[in-house]
Point group: C2
DNA sequence: CAGATATATGAGAACGTTCTCTGTTCATTG
DNA sequence: CAATGAACAGAGAACGTTCTCATATATCTG
């Protein structure tokens, strides 16, 4: 049973005294075989320590039972949870998972996709780092390799997609602050790629109620859009100076924003951070400035990270269903792999407001 | 260049007007080829959108340039970082990464290893969930599949291994508390599998200075061993009632321990939590009990999680180099894959005490 | 009972690469 | 100038499976 050199179907067949075809049928579980043969072959297989070679199987079937995933950064709790969701359904179906990091770089993403394609994955789940230039993704489609996008869309690429309902979530977060009596609300957002004509123009268009092609926007821009909408509903004009653009996906970049916003002549009384990384950066700044939440500053974050529930006070946040997002994406991908042929689907999962202790109820100044 | 059906070497050869052998040599980068042929073949390949099939290549070479990893849970920050470290070096060498979760269950681990082996990974990195029964791992060795262990060892399995120096780290953490004047120090540890004859016997043996086979102990037992050694150095007897055994790798289990320890007639003034999950559980309890750190309770954790640095006050902790652990493991594995044949190596990376504000300096009662 | 169908087995092709072997050319060498 | 060997190209085997096809028997079906 413990054997040094690996046994093949031919070896098993020889020992069992049958043809390789029969042995293959028994071990591969296809075609017809008699119980007698089954026993014989299985006994030989056990004896030789036979282990099927998935490469050979994949080569001939054209299926590897492996999914490829291009995540931004496994280490980031967002991707870690999404991956876990994907892993859960992949594992349940006996699929393997080939995982790479893009670090939000287009060239690394292209490289990853190429690697995964060469390894003949049956399908891919990608969080695209560029919402416009995506020839490598279009290429997959033309090769008929199923593709599911997570968290972001790509303009002109109509494939299955799952994301949080970022606009609604952003709106709800900020509305929550308005309802607590806040009027000057800062936002700390990534906003890395320029959506066409710059932040000012974006804010103007959003404030005017222009519906825009919000679907293909980056999540942070969508959440900003929600921020603007909440202002419109509250009848409060958006002050562009309250919008801090980190410009990169890092806590350090976000950290800079807090003292900047609070240093304004008319500083915000509350902050909305648009993702886990921005939230972490904001918290670092708040600690560094020795501010007390919610006395000195109210805070609503995005994405429920573990520490938010055991900080004192707890941090109110828009919780997005990361695990469910991963699971939904994997399920959609598996359906496509199994031949599902319906038009591309978009699954928008709602984020949920978890209200903890980081928002101060303000009595409104009647003069305003 | 954009082609629907995938092109093979034979297709490229036909278009280029050469033999498949020559086309293969050009595209595979082996053997002799003239520059003329190279141009011709590469042009044809580009034109057809040729993409090498790693399955076919792997089938014949016996190498897949893919590593398999069995982690406990990708979602856990510890594994997420370790994975990122592995990914960094794998990617630099052009290796793919097949990742699975074991959820610390032996049967899932066995299943994962089997899956990865069938997919013909060139080597495996495993965080074994059982330090004793590991036939599946011995099996890998007999098949000559390189294996590297992370975080834990397996008794009787001598392979490359990388881990934190848990005993020294545990000792340093607790010594730090002694030096701050604490005498009754609680420990919240996983201690899931019974190390032979139970906790009481373990404590007795450890306190007597018995060296034990500490190498093959679970990390939490090793950190407990450090805890005991620090007591010996400080000349303080270990009170078994101060050792809380969570019994499972979950924050909920850890959370229970805090009120239990604090409810003792002679409660601890400080706590040592032996990993990130235990720390999270302890923090939840501390928040629920509305305790103030370090006034009501001092705390030293293990593993530096992001929130520990921006809590108010910051949490002192033993920081283990998770990324470096993953990188070291991957490097060792790649060396083995490239034929390195030296005897099994053990890399113990030191953990570093990061002193923040969670430890109160106590003035010692002269009566004690 | 003829004909169809389900069940069972084996021989050998096929998947897309790399490897081995044979053969040719051409420059170098003593 | 014969001998050597490096540089190159092609034919075909090999990797370990599954697939197709041919064949044979047992079991239904009308």
């Amino acid at each position: 049973m413990v054997v040094r050199n690996k046994a093949t179907i031919a070896d098993v067949a020889r020992v069992a005294g049958v043809s390789t075809a029969t042995a293959g049928r028994v071990l591969g579980g296809y075609g017809y075989t008699s119980d007698e043969m089954k026993d014989q072959v299985q006994k030989a297989a056990r004896q030789l320590g036979y282990r099927p070679n998935a490469l050979a199987r994949g080569l001939i079937t054209g299926k590897t039972r492996t999914l490829g995933v291009v995540a931004g950064d496994i280490q980031n709790p967002f991707y870690a949870s999404v991956l876990r969701g994907i892993s859960n359904v992949a594992e349940a179906d006996g699929f393997g998972l080939l995982i790479t990091n893009s670090d939000e770089s287009r060239s690394k993403e292209v490289q990853s996709v190429e690697l995964l394609a060469q390894k003949q994955v049956d399908g891919l789940i990608v969080t695209p780092s560029d919402t416009r230039k995506a020839r490598h993704l279009h290429n997959l489609l033309s090769m008929e390799i199923p593709l599911v996008l997570i968290d972001r869309a790509v303009a002109g690429l109509s494939v299955d997609r799952v994301a949080a309902d970022n606009i609604a979530a952003g709106e709800q977060a900020v509305r929550h602050l308005f309802e607590a009596g806040h009027r000057r609300i800062g936002i700390i957002a990534e906003l890395v790629e320029d959506e066409g004509d710059g932040l000012a123009a974006f804010l103007a268009r959003a404030a005017s109620g222009d519906p825009m092609e919000a679907e293909a926007l980056y999540p942070s821009w969508q959440r900003l859009l929600g921020y603007v909408r909440a202002h419109r509903i509250a009848g409060v004009a958006v002050d562009p100076r309250l919008v801090f653009r980190a410009g990169s996906y890092s806590a350090e970049a976000a950290q800079v924003g807090v003292p900047l916003l609070l240093g304004l002549s008319d500083p915000p009384t509350a902050l909305f951070t648009t993702d886990g990384t921005m939230s972490e950066g904001a918290m670092r700044a708040i600690t560094a400035l020795n501010l007390s939440i919610p006395r000195d500053l109210s805070l609503v974050c995005f994405d429920d990270l573990d520490w938010m529930s055991f900080m004192q006070p707890g941090i109110s946040t828009m919780s997005q269903p990361r695990l469910a997002m991963g699971e939904a994406a994997a399920r959609m991908l598996l359906e496509r792999i199994q031949g599902e042929n319906c038009p591309p689907r978009t699954v928008l999962l709602p984020a949920e407001l978890i209200s903890r202790g980081s928002v101060l109820r303000r009595v409104l100044d009647p003069a305003v």
